[in-house]
């Protein structure tokens, strides 16, 4: 290889590495920034203060526990719905639908996944009102398309020999479905974790429907407040310690999402092995 060719290779490598490094550096920078902005409020007694259950930031009462409860509860409540409806949808899409139905199905799921969350929020608010149930419906509509596509992708990746062998052994549609579900259980679990992360991060649509009252005991007809909706509602109007605590709230939701994504990565790696 000539000197010039080696130089071009070197420049290409530098270029690719720089571009590839932008995202990890941005995430690191984001976490450092959030911590730095929130650090002015970090004191020895903050830990006990944020674990209280009263959120009155104007009175410097920063109990973010009800916000964490709201975030986890709403995202976790949507999971059974997503799994129970998403897996059969993906199975139908990949295994049983004809080509025409597959085209229509993929267009519908694609459209739903591309809808701005605010449109979904307004629609659900006007149809089902403002409560925890509506929040779960919003999250379902926003999370389900991604879950279905992830499960469908793992179904497409199954070895075709598996289906042929199963049929040769005389298994019916039900038996084949059970066999396949066992094969894709780990990617499905990974998709569930990604959906959970997506649920943790949703903000604007939820502000329309969640009611936004911080509570430790959410009920289906009552309100709920999440970490992200708190940021949307209060960041523009916050100042001083209130402004700082909202950065700690943002850091909390970032870490929650990071943990679910890391867990999902671990499961998908195990599946590949």
């Amino acid at each position: 290889m000539s000197l010039l060719a080696r130089r071009s290779e070197f420049f290409f490598w530098c270029f690719i590495t720089t571009i590839g490094g932008i995202i990890p550096i941005s995430v690191g920078g984001l976490i450092v920034y959030l911590f730095a902005e929130g650090s002015s409020i970090i004191t020895w007694d903050l830990f006990s203060r944020i674990l209280s259950n009263s959120w009155f930031p104007a009175d410097e009462e920063f109990g973010i526990l009800p916000l964490i409860v709201g975030t986890i509860t709403s995202a976790a409540a949507v999971l059974p719905l997503v799994v129970c409806l998403g897996i059969p949808s993906a199975l139908y899409f990949v295994l049983f639908a004809n080509e025409r139905a597959q085209t229509i199905f993929s267009m519908v799921v694609g459209t739903l996944s591309g809808l701005p969350s605010v449109v979904v929020g307004i629609f659900v608010m006007e149809v089902t009102g403002i409560n925890f149930t509506s929040a779960v419906i919003v999250l379902f509509l926003l999370v389900a398309p991604q879950f279905i596509l992830m499960v469908a992708t793992s179904l497409f990746q199954l070895h075709k020999g598996l289906l042929i062998s199963a049929k040769a052994l005389g298994l019916g549609d039900f038996g084949i479905t059970v066999l396949i579900l066992r094969q894709i259980s780990l990617p499905v679990f990974g998709a569930m974790l990604v959906s959970l992360g997506r649920g943790f991060g949703e903000a604007v649509a939820l502000t329309f429907v969640a009611g936004n009252v911080a509570t430790m005991m959410p009920d289906w007809s009552g309100p709920i407040r999440t970490l992200t909706t708190t940021i949307v509602l209060e960041l523009d109007f916050a100042t001083g310690a209130h402004y700082s605590i909202l950065h700690i709230v943002a850091l909390s939701v970032t870490l929650l999402i990071a943990v679910t994504v890391i867990l999902s990565g671990i499961f998908s790696r195990r599946n590949n092995q």
Partner: protein
């Protein structure tokens, strides 16, 4: 073609293979940098940030001034009174819009220009047949001591309390009038800005909330299912706000740190003129003069 010439041409081609992207990147960066520089050039501009309550007045006034002075740009960014104050402290705007009473410190630091009066109206969903409440009734409703409209001889419908999130000027004005502490309020829904409160009240039968009279009137004009409630025997009208009869009122301010810029002064003068007063009235607020 000699071997030497061939070699030189090939070298050029090889050089070009990595130079071209570098040149392209350099050119693009230069264009963006120069573009950025040109946008930094000094303009005839007034930048206002702060209370969304003042947004309709400032936008209409800005449009009128931009027609009169074609080089002038009036840029209005909402984000709450607190943002208006914060940006004014750090000199990130020409004027800050504030929809609450100023603190003593703010009064010391800022040049203060009262622009208009606004009333905070009590609104309910139009499904309730309630026409009037007293301040004491409001306290009971917001403390959840009364939870059904039947207690006011209204329909048999549970009362859904819509409140505003911390930091909003309207909340502070409401708390000041009702003498409630924020922790006493038992909210069913917490909304951000006035339009979110209106949307919530419009969508929930039996709900009650409080917003700027101007925005409530604008919502009723476009047939939102809400209605204004008389408070302590006073009708929520602009003339009652003007005559200081309406009990929950506030002054809307523009503030600047130090002397306002020349163009900011033009805007302030315009808001005090007859044309400015007309714009304020059309936006359903009460002019100061």
């Amino acid at each position: 073609m000699t071997v030497r010439k061939l070699f030189t041409e090939r070298k050029l081609v090889e050089k070009a293979s990595y130079r071209q992207p570098l040149l392209a990147t350099f050119s693009l960066t230069s264009i963006l940098f120069l573009g950025g520089c040109s946008s930094e050039q000094k303009q005839d501009k007034v930048e206002i940030t702060g209370a969304s309550t003042l947004l309709p007045i400032l936008q209409s006034a800005g449009e009128s001034l931009e027609k009169r002075y074609p080089t002038l740009r009036v840029q209005v960014l909402a984000g709450g009174s607190t943002k208006g104050v914060k940006d004014t402290f750090s000199k990130q705007n020409d004027l800050g819009a504030v929809a609450r009473e100023l603190t003593l410190e703010e009064k010391d630091q800022f040049e203060v220009f009262p622009v208009a009066y606004d009333g905070v109206a009590i609104i309910t969903n139009s499904s309730t047949n309630i026409l009037e409440l007293t301040t004491e009734d409001l306290r009971k409703v917001y403390r959840k001591e009364i939870t059904n409209w039947q207690s006011f001889n209204g329909v048999n419908s549970p009362i859904t309390v819509v409140n505003k999130s911390d930091g909003h000027a309207t909340l502070e004005v409401f708390l000041q009038h009702t003498q409630l502490h924020r922790r006493e309020i038992k909210s069913d829904v917490i909304a951000g800005n006035n339009s979110q409160v209106i949307k919530s009240v419009a969508n929930i039968p039996g709900s009650i909330g409080y917003v700027s009279i101007a925005e409530a009137l604008a919502a009723i004009e476009i047939n939102q299912p809400i209605k204004l409630i008389q408070l302590d025997g006073v009708k929520p009208t602009l003339s009652n706000v003007e005559m200081k009869l309406w009990p929950i009122r506030r002054t809307l301010y523009l503030v600047s740190r130090g002397e306002p810029s020349p163009w900011a002064n033009v805007l302030l003068d315009f808001l005090q003129s007859n044309e400015g007063s007309q714009i304020i009235k059309e936006a359903n607020y009460v002019p100061i003069s």
